[in-house]
Structures are given as C-alpha cells and as structure tokens.
C-alpha cells in the first residue's frame, strides 16, 4: 500500500491519559474507550494522511443503482440496496469510503453503519470514511422502501444490509486475489484491509479493487458469527469527531457556491394568513438587497422573500418590510381556549384504540382520577433550517440542484421537482451534514424544502440567475410551527389494596401528526394516529379502554424525538408509580410484579439500572429521593433510576443511572451519547419555559431567551449501562428520552406527595 505512516489516535490517547491525575484517568479512559496499554486492539480512529496524488479513485464500484436509471437489478437478483457498487468505494491507497443511507445529524449512524460494513469487509478501520447517500434508489431504508432517517431505524433496518454489503465486497476482493494467485478463494483469508494468501503473500484491498470491480457480485454470502466480531461492539470514536473539533465540518448552512444569494422570508404571524399588502421601499434600500418577492407558502399563505448578498442584508431587509396580513380567514389558536376545549373533549369517549371491560372500575376500592397536560414543543435544532437551490437550463432542459440537511431526501426531492417544474430526473439532491434535527428535518409536506424552492423559482423568474439559499432565523424556527402537538390525557383508574388494576379508562386529546400526509394510509387506522398512542398500556397488561380525539387546529405539528412516547411514557410511568405508592409497594418491585415473565428485556434493563444505582441499598443524602421509570420505544427498552431533590419549589435532578436493552450495541460509545442526549432532552421538557404557547393565533416565544432548552447547569451525572446481547440491534436515537421525565416526576412525588401532572413542571399547580 502506498501510504504514509499510519497514526493511531489510541496511542496518543493513551499517552495523554497516562499523564492525567488518577481521578481523571478512569473517567477519560472510560469515555475515550482507550486502554492505557494500547495493545493490539483495533485503532479507534484513523489519522492516515493520504499520500500526495493517491486520492485518485478507481471508480471501482461505479454507481449503477440510480433511481433515475435502471431501478431494477443490475447484478443478479440483487436490489439496488444490496449492491456494493452504490455503497463502497476503495481507492488504490486502500481508503474505503462507505456511503451511508442516513442523514448524520449527531446520532452517529455514519460511524455505526460504516463499522458494520467494515466488520464484514475486514477493512482496516483506520482507512474507513463515511459519506452521505443521496436520493437515489439505493439509499432507501430497506425495510420501508423510502429514504428516511427516523424512527431510530438506521442500525435496526440496515444492520444486515450493511453486513451483507461488506461481505459481498470482501468476496469480490477475495475472488480477485484468487485469480491473481491462481488459487481457490477458500485458501485465502483477510485481515485489516489485506488479503493473505499461500505462504503469507499479501495483496491490499487497494491493489485488488480495480480487478475486483470486473467480477460478478455474489448474491449469497456467509456472515460472521458475532463471536468473530472485532469492530462491532467495540467503543469506537466518531469518524467526524476531528472535523467537528476543528471548524472544518461543513453543514448545509455552510454551502458556498459562486454568486450565492441568501433569502430570508417574512412569514405570516398566524399560520396560513394571507398577505394583504407590502411596502418594500425601505427593504430595497438596504445595502446588498437584490430583490423583494412575494412567494407562495403552504396552507394557501403567501410570504415575502428578501433576497440579498448575505444573511445580514436579507434579514435587515426583511425587518424593514412593512407588511399587512389578512388573518380573517384563518383560525387563531389561543392556548388557554385550546386547553379548555381539550378538557371538554376528554370527558367524552373518542375513536377506539383499546377496549376493555370496565365493569369493575366504578366499584373499585381505590381510585385515581388524573388529568395531564403537555404543551407544544419546538425541535429547535442548533443549525437553523436552510436549503440551497440552484436552477439552470430552460423548459425540458430545466435542471435543479439542492443542498440541504434532510431526513427524507427522496420525498423532498419529489416535492422540490414538483414545485420547481423540473422532472425528477433533472433534480439532484445533495444531502448535507445537519446540526441536529430531532424530527424537524423529516417533514411529510417537505415544507422547508418547498419554501426554498418557491423562493428560488421566484428569484429566477425575477431575473436573478444565481443559487439561492433560504435561511431561517432562529425566530422563524421557533415561531414556524411543526411542533410536537399539545396533548391532554384523562385517566380514571380503579385498583385494589394490593395494587391490582381493576379497570382503566383513558382518553387522549391531541392533533394527529399524520392525517393528511402520505403516511396516513398505513399509520392512521380507525381514526387513531399510531404516533399518538404508541407507548400506551405497554408493558403493563392492564384492562385499559383507550380512546382518542384528534381535533383540527391551525398549528402545524410534527414528530418530535420519540414522538408519542414523549407523553405516553410520562402518563403510564407516573400513574403506575402512583398506584405503587398508594398501595405502599416499592415501585420497582411493583413494576417487576406487573411484567413478570412477559417482558424479559424490560426486566433486564430495569434490574440493571437498579443494581448499578444502589437503589434500595444506598442511603441517599438528606432531601433527595429515588425516582424510577422504564419504557420501550422503537424496540429498545430504557430504564432510569434517578436521584432528585426539591428546594424552594425548584426540583433538581442530580444523578441518573440507566439500564439499556438495545440488543447488540454496535458502538457502545454511541449508545451512551444517545442516551445522555435523549435524557437531557427529556429533562428539558420539565424545565420552566419549555413550552410553545399561542395567543390570538400568534406564537408567543421566539428564541432561546423565552423558549427554554436544557443548559450545562441542568445536566445531571448520567451513568449508562447496557444489557449484553448478541441479537440484531434495535434503535438508539430516541428511546432514551421518554422515561426520563417520569422518573424525575416520581422522585418529586416522593418528596412532595404530589405527582406533577403538567409539563413543564409547575409544582404549586401539581
């Protein structure tokens, strides 16, 4: 191989850690996954410098699987999602570039799926890179058949896919080596990017790649026994950690094109309001403003785009607009009125999700009657929404190219083509690294991409022949809708002195996320949106009647990290805890009794968290109490045992011990980071100010000063423990979120005697 000296960061990390004081050593070792003895383990991360001139790609695996092209099977009976050509590129210097079919927005899929492929390929991890796929057919989710990063599905649905891709590529490299050496492939083995032949002869993958590409793609491949894994299961550093620590990582917002213009749009103050009139004289006078254009928005609204040579001029221009809006034809949602209306609706049964015999409810010896309220929540990803659009050509030759961080590039590409009036074949979607998303970049209506396309189209019509980036200000983001819907739950529960639940009548009120979307057909059934009720009743086999109301409201709503479980886990886990307390039972023992023998993964996760926390054994500091919750979402179970206190009416979360059951943890470091992040977001839902409210149709919050997100001072100590398993992995992007808030609430209930039934917490109103 033509390379410079490989440099493994593990060695450096070990040197650095060795110099630390003892107390920090253990922490740093654990976090970096670095043993002080660097040993012969796999290198954690590559810092291989490409030798000058060796960056030339063989094109060894040309992209054959284009959505616009064949669409069918090119090699044997393999689908586009199964063909190495679209996923693996090996250059002569041995660098393996893996194309990942998911948006990377912090969750670590690029590192995780590259690890999975590299495992079966027997690649040298130090030589592995990851890049984004685009809207081609090869990059759909193999289970869903659409391009989607969501539902915590990357490793769950693409684990076997990426293993097979790695194994197929390896088989082709082996076959190429066998031809060269004139031996049977079975006489060869592979190790860290090298094929080893008779007598210890070696050929690197880089040397073999060109010949390998000429060979047939095998349909059947044998995968490793998990016992043979050398990479999967190892705490592995992110492939992008270095770029993201140097300022060198480009995100969608950083796209730079010659002549790029920036658009900022004046949106109506009430969703869907009409534009009455606009006086743009002052806006046009702003230095750098190139055009002020009316653009169609969704819900039949219209906005005013100010297009300028940069964001600041565009924003100054927009702020200088004098716009009159006509809000007469649209509903003006008001949070106080909405709450009253939801409360009224909850007294009546709605569409049926679960039925149960409630005959024992009325006469039950003990009862709980509870109402829960959850507000709208904005996702507020750190990178504000943006989408850059370049239009070229005319008529049938009109072409478009887009750059954006999106969780659904296929759907967005189609919506963009439709908006722009170009054929899908003539539209190129470049998926960009994104600064967070949490669901906000998976919009069934493709709202932000469509708006950016409407702006670009208007700009071109107005004679501006330049790429246009539409950029949302933070205020546009916070006020722009697509929130986690507001919900109200009403529960009537009857139980006996032993805590046996005799009847549970439950009503939920909240907007449907998916009604009217392409997902409605298979995710809304009998008038019940599955994304609203997920997590209800689970895992407790209780006699629950559950009905729902989906009122129409003039507020766009969307899935928000862990979706329905953001509220259902809270309701289930605080109510179960309350029954345990009311019947003087230990909340852990009570839960274990309810799920005994039926939910081994819940049991394992909960027991692990309990054991590691010292729950029931350790004496807590004065003023602190334990809180417990366990919840499954996206096929992963997370259990929390927390320590919290309340001082002067202010609750504080101190420590969090976590038991996770995600089957095989492909990258334990990533699992830990996902749980910590999700826990913090779950905690964020509890903090004062974590709510979007509306007055007379207008969103009252606008930026981080009045829409609370968790800060470093809120961050508790979080210890993550993973239940060992070799089963195919389940999701990790979301499942850490749901049980955090109820665990915290249960600790508060132990301290104050009252369970907070409203998020964010309002203790006096509990």
């Amino acid at each position: 191989m033509t390379t410079t000296t490989p440099f493994h960061s593990r060695l450096i990390d070990a040197q650095l850690i060795g110099a630390l004081p003892k107390g920090l050593q253990a922490l740093a070792q654990r976090q970096s996954g670095t043993a002080l003895d660097a040993g012969d383990g796999l290198p954690r991360r590559s810092f291989l410098k490409l030798a000058a001139g060796s960056g030339f790609a063989l094109g060894a695996f040309p992209l054959v699987a284009s959505a616009q092209g064949a669409g069918g099977a090119a090699a044997g009976g393999l689908k586009p999602t199964q063909q190495p050509a679209a996923f693996v590129r090996i250059t002569r210097d041995g660098v393996v570039t893996v194309t990942v079919n998911r948006l990377e927005f912090g969750q670590g899929s690029h590192t995780g799926l590259a690890m999975v492929l590299a495992e079966e390929l027997d690649a040298d991890w130090a030589q592995v890179r990851a890049v984004h796929g685009n809207a081609d057919a090869a990059y759909v989710d193999p289970a869903f058949g659409i391009h989607i990063t969501g539902g915590s599905n990357a490793l769950k649905n693409s684990y076997t896919q990426y293993r097979e891709l790695g194994a197929r590529t390896r088989a082709m490299l082996l076959a190429a080596a066998a031809q060269q050496w004139k031996v049977a492939p079975s006489a060869l083995r592979t190790q860290a990017g090298v094929v080893i032949g008779p007598g210890g002869a070696k050929l690197s993958y880089g040397e073999l790649a060109e010949a390998a590409m000429q060979l047939p793609v095998p349909e059947q491949v044998t995968l490793k026994d998990p016992k043979q894994f050398r990479l999967i299961g190892q705490p592995t550093g992110r492939l992008d950690a270095r770029a993201k620590s140097s300022g060198g990582q480009a995100f969608g917002i950083d796209v730079r094109l010659p002549g790029l213009l920036t658009a900022v749009v004046a949106y109506p103050p009430v969703f869907g309001a009409k534009l009455q009139s606009v006086d743009d004289a002052a806006a046009k006078a702003v230095q750098g403003v190139r055009a002020v254009l009316r653009v169609p928005l969704e819900r039949g609204a219209e906005g005013v785009a100010v297009i300028a040579e940069g964001y600041w001029a565009a924003k100054q221009g927009r702020d200088a607009l004098k716009v009159e809006w006509n809000t007469s034809g649209v509903e003006k949602v008001d949070s106080a009125r909405q709450l009253a209306a939801y409360r009224e609706l909850a007294t009546k049964p709605g569409a049926l999700k679960y039925d149960a015999d409630l005959s024992k409810l009325a006469g039950a010896p003990r009862k709980i009657s509870a109402e829960f309220v959850f507000p709208y929540l904005a996702h507020a990803p750190m990178e504000p929404l943006n989408c850059t659009v370049q239009l070229t050509g005319q008529g049938a030759n009109a072409k478009a190219e887009l750059w954006t961080g999106t969780q659904m590039p296929g759907l967005d590409a189609l919506a963009a083509a439709n908006t722009l009036g170009v054929t899908p074949q003539n539209l190129k979607m470049n998926v960009q690294m994104a600064g967070g998303g949490f669901g906000r970049r998976a919009v069934p209506s493709s709202e932000y991409v469509v708006h950016a396309c409407a702006v670009a189209k208007a700009a071109r019509t107005a004679g501006l022949d330049a790429p246009v980036r539409t950029l949302w200000s933070r205020e546009d983001d916070i006020k722009g809708g697509y929130y986690r819907p507001m919900h109200l739950h009403r529960a009537e529960i009857g139980f006996d002195a032993k805590g046996e639940i005799l009847g549970w009548n439950h009503v939920i009120v909240g907007q449907s996320i998916l009604k009217g979307s392409p997902f409605e057909a298979f995710m809304v059934q009998n008038g019940v949106d599955a994304t609203m009720v997920e997590g209800m009743k689970e895992p407790y086999d209780v006699p629950m009647k559950l009905t729902v109301h989906h009122p129409q409201q003039n507020v766009p709503v969307l899935w928000w990290r862990s979706v329905g479980s953001t509220h259902t886990a809270y309701v289930m886990e605080t109510l179960v805890d309350e029954i345990a307390r009311a019947t003087k039972q230990d909340p852990v023992a009570y839960r274990l009794k309810l799920i005994e023998g039926k939910h081994p993964r819940h049991e394992a996760a909960l027991k692990l968290a309990v054991e590691k926390s010292g729950y029931g054994k350790k004496k807590l500091a004065a003023g602190r109490a334990w809180g417990v919750a366990v919840h499954e979402s996206f096929n992963t179970v997370v259990a929390y045992v927390v320590e919290a206190s309340v001082k002067d009416g202010m609750p504080k979360l101190h420590t969090v011990t976590v038991g996770v059951h995600c089957n095989l943890a492909v990258n334990p470091k990533s699992v830990e980071a996902q749980v910590q992040g999700a826990a913090l977001m779950g905690l964020g839902m509890c903090l004062p100010g974590a709510a979007i409210t509306l007055k007379d149709g207008v969103v009252e919050q606008s930026n981080f000063h009045d829409y609370t997100v968790a800060r470093i001072t809120d961050m508790p100590k979080i210890a993550v423990h993973i239940v060992p398993s070799a089963d195919a992995p389940t999701g990790m992007g979301e499942p850490g979120l749901p049980p955090l808030a109820p665990a915290f609430a249960n600790a508060i209930a132990r301290l104050t005697g009252k369970t907070p039934r409203q998020l964010p917490f309002k203790l006096d109103a509990a």
Partner: protein, 192 residues
C-alpha cells in the same frame, strides 16, 4: 473588548480615497477590505467572518447572544460574534476564530475534544471549544462549578458531560505536546 466608539470606520460614503481602508486583525493576519467590500458598520462580526471571509467554522444559532455557537475570541476574551457590530472592532484588536485556534486542530482543547468524542451533531462545538479555550486561559484549572458558570453555550445533543470532562482533561494536558494525528479526511459531510 471595547464596544464603544468605533475606531474602525467602515463604509463612509463621504470619505473618498484617502480614508483608511477597513482592517481586521484576524487569526494572526491583517485582513484589509477594499472600499467596495467594506461591510456596513452594523453588520455583526459573525456574518463578516462567515459570508465575506469564508470562515464558516463559526456558526449562527440564535443571533441574540443566547446560544454561543458563534463564540470567537477578541483579545483572547470569548465574545458572541452575532451581536458584535463590525465597526466596534479596532484594527489592532486580535480576533481568533476556531480556524485560527490552532494549526490542524492541535490546540489542547481540540485534542481533548477529539479524544473524548465530545461532538455529536457538532454544530455548537466550535463555539464550545472557543468558550472552553478562553476559560482555560483565564482559569487553568477550573472546577465543574467554574465550568458550568463559564460554559453558557447551548448543545441540543446533550454533550455537556463530555464538555466538562474534556475541559478538565485539557486543563491537565495543556503542557504536554504529544505528536498529533494528521487530518482524517473522513466524513466531510458533503454529498457526492
């Protein structure tokens, strides 16, 4: 830093050719702006860095000095560049962005960041690193309480515990200069 009278006098239409050119002292180099490229006086430093000078490592997150994604150093102190009008910066004031913190990401804070895998989505991390570097300059051995008081930046991914740990690690290793890894071209994040 001084935000008082402008010492730098950009874009003054009446000033003709003799007027001194607008200058910034950025990442160890003087940047001289020709009159036609001189930013409007109220333009925040952030947008001059990002859109005029192409230094996109400094991020826009809120525009009101709340989130810290735009943190840079002016005379070694952390400032939120989204609210600093360009005209308030004197030509001799030393501006440092993430790109200028070190060559090749070798600053001790960056090394700790890489080692401990601090970034997730990474969007806030340039600002985090700049805030951390400024803290360590002022307080070489901060406690967690010192860190909490100084790091008011927002991270939505929840990297805060690794931020704390990395700052403590960086404070311990800053005097050691082990050879540093070369650049890893992986995951540049651009599409194909």
């Amino acid at each position: 830093m001084s935000t008082t009278d402008n010492v730098n006098r950009p874009a003054d239409a009446s000033a003709e050719e003799q007027a001194p050119k607008f200058k910034l002292f950025l990442n160890g180099k003087e940047e001289v702006f020709e009159p036609e490229n001189t930013p409007e006086p109220d333009t925040p430093l952030l947008w001059v860095l990002r859109e005029q000078l192409g230094l996109t490592g400094t991020k826009y997150g809120c525009g009101i000095a709340q989130c810290g994604a735009c943190t840079v150093h002016v005379d070694d102190a952390p400032v939120r560049s989204c609210v600093i009008p360009i005209a308030s910066i004197a030509p001799e004031q030393k501006i440092t962005t993430i790109e200028g913190l070190s060559r090749n990401g070798t600053h001790h804070v960056q090394r700790a960041w890489q080692m401990l895998d601090v970034p997730q989505c990474g969007f806030c991390q340039s600002g985090m690193i700049m805030a951390a570097a400024a803290l360590l300059r002022r307080n070489p051995n901060p406690s967690d309480a010192d860190i909490d008081a100084a790091i008011t930046n927002i991270c939505r991914c929840g990297s805060y515990n690794r931020v704390r740990l990395a700052i403590r690690v960086a404070s311990q290793v800053r005097t050691r200069r082990a050879p540093l890894p070369q650049d890893n071209a992986a995951s540049k994040g651009t599409a194909q």
